[in-house]
Amino acid sequence: MKNQMKNQNSRLAFLLAFLCTLCTAPAQFFLKLGTTNIELSFQGIMQNTPLILGIIFYTIGSVLMIFALKFGDLSLVYPTISLAFIWVALTSSIFLKETISIVQWIGIIVIILGVMISGLSIKQGVGAKRGVKSD
């Protein structure tokens, strides 16, 4: 039963980490927008919508990550965060008209595989329950 609890928590942790990447990716995008030719005055910063949006998204993402860590191992949550790289590449291609090279597409697939394999370890709990030694 303890393994089932851990499995449910791990799934929740994965979901939270996934949601976190949906926040940190636009955060990076907005921060990039907001810090190019930044106006370093109080008024400048207050009127810097991208910068403010970036900070807000980053804060929400951080809270989500902390909650993910509450429920799951760091070695599960952290690899999941790498998905943000994929979102950043995709949004850069859509909004900034940057082309995605073939190597980058392969890299995207490789990251997804890596995250899936890291997350597959969640199922080890089921194996351990039946006395099967998990790797």
């Binding site: 760091l74 940057e98 090279s101």
Partner: protein
């Protein structure tokens, strides 16, 4: 010409960030939305401070060398985190998890280094 000092800075920055993640994990266990409790959550605070320091170190390294060289190095964080979480958080690493991490590092390198 590669600015190796910049590379070193970024590598150190990622390591500091990874250590920060370990503290964040320890602090996350006790996290709630009560500010009074969090004022005593030293692990969480240490994690945040380390994140901040790693960002400064990273940005400094970034100012000295091209983004196309520096950005791929951020994938190192995932290696550090894997080692540190096994060593200091008692999390069980398995060959499968190591494979996953390796793929992520390779994948990040492919996305960031070969930017069209």
């Amino acid at each position: 010409m590669i600015n190796w000092f910049a590379i070193l800075l970024v590598v150190i920055g990622t390591l500091i960030g990874a250590v920060g993640s370990v503290f964040m994990k320890k602090g996350a266990v006790k996290f709630n939305f009560n500010p009074l409790d969090q004022l005593r959550n030293t692990n969480l605070q240490a994690g945040m401070v380390l994140f901040f320091i790693s960002a400064i170190v990273y940005i400094y390294g970034l100012s000295l060398e091209r983004l196309s060289l520096i950005y791929p190095l951020t994938s190192l964080t995932y290696l550090w985190v894997a080692f540190l979480s096994a060593r200091f958080l008692g999390e069980k690493m398995s060959p499968r998890k190591w494979l996953g991490i390796l793929l992520i590092v390779i994948g990040i390198f492919m996305i960031t280094y070969f930017a069209g």
